[in-house]
Symmetry: C2
Subunit: 171 residues, 2 copies
């Protein structure tokens, strides 16, 4: 889906994509390609050019204790980070496959309502360097950060850090 989007927009290098159909496209690619994302009832909530937020209702993502299942929380954060990288690649007109390499998760508080995960690049990362590295070397790494909010009292429920790699797709 994003491959088509990117190839339709070969001249896009730096302009941020806020267009609704781009986010719809991302949501559709996740729901069509990943059955568990469908089971989670994942939804792309918003994207401001820097942060991507995904959401899912509690009911299909509940655990035996009635709060959010840890596996759903980590899936949502992983997909938020993966989705943001794909949006940034599409903005730059780059066509690459994105893989998670490792992740660290702290479960800080239970989530008793809707799951909301927000991802951004890690504090020392630069999207322009990431895109340039991919262009020059055919692959590039980036550390991503994500959080789940929604714990009682507005506190962070889960903190996620992960390394991803993008590899230029061979046609």
């Amino acid at each position: 889906m994003l491959r088509e989007l990117a190839s339709r927009q070969p001249g896009r290098q730096t302009r941020a994509v806020y267009r609704y159909d781009t986010l719809q496209e991302l949501e559709r690619s996740m729901l069509e390609g990943i059955p568990i994302a469908r089971a989670m009832q994942l939804h792309v909530l918003e994207y401001d050019g820097h942060r991507l937020a995904l959401t899912a209702p509690l009911a299909p993502n509940v655990n035996d204790k009635g709060c959010a299942f840890g596996g759903s929380l980590i899936s949502l954060t992983t997909l938020a980070a993966w989705g943001l990288i794909n949006l940034k690649l599409a903005e730059a007109g780059a066509v690459a496959d994105v893989y998670v390499q490792d992740s660290n998760v702290e479960y800080l508080a239970p989530v008793w309502g809707e799951l909301v995960a927000e991802a951004s690049a890690g504090p020392d990362e630069s999207w322009s360097e990431f895109i340039a590295m991919l262009s020059d070397h055919g692959s590039a790494r980036i550390r991503m950060a994500a959080e789940v909010s929604g714990a009682e009292g507005g506190q962070v429920a889960l903190r996620f850090s992960a390394r991803f790699v993008a590899k230029r797709r061979k046609h």
Copy 2:
């Protein structure tokens, strides 16, 4: 489910439980309590008193690339570790809630077939100390390890390490 099991067996302290109905009970408690475990078509494969193996077919756990979705792999390892702790608690006649506190995951190779996750206590951990700590203090921590096999050439596909806490259930 495991609470009932434990209360039916108050004298069990150290004997390992290999009984098929215990594993069926564990599988049923995960499938009934966690909708995503049902969507994954999770199955308890085997338990030898030290290691618990869970499995799930590829089709419902696939990603956009046709291999296993990372979120499913980490859910399966987390549930294998969580399930093993619950089996050990049931063997000891202890009734406690088990929570994951943090996890580290390395994704080493893609899985193109059935997902199989095997969990055990971390190398420096002792089940008897864990049970004694829970009995004395009402809560106890343990580090768990898990791996996903099934990558091509028999190599490890994912390595998982996580800290869990058990808290004695208040009646």
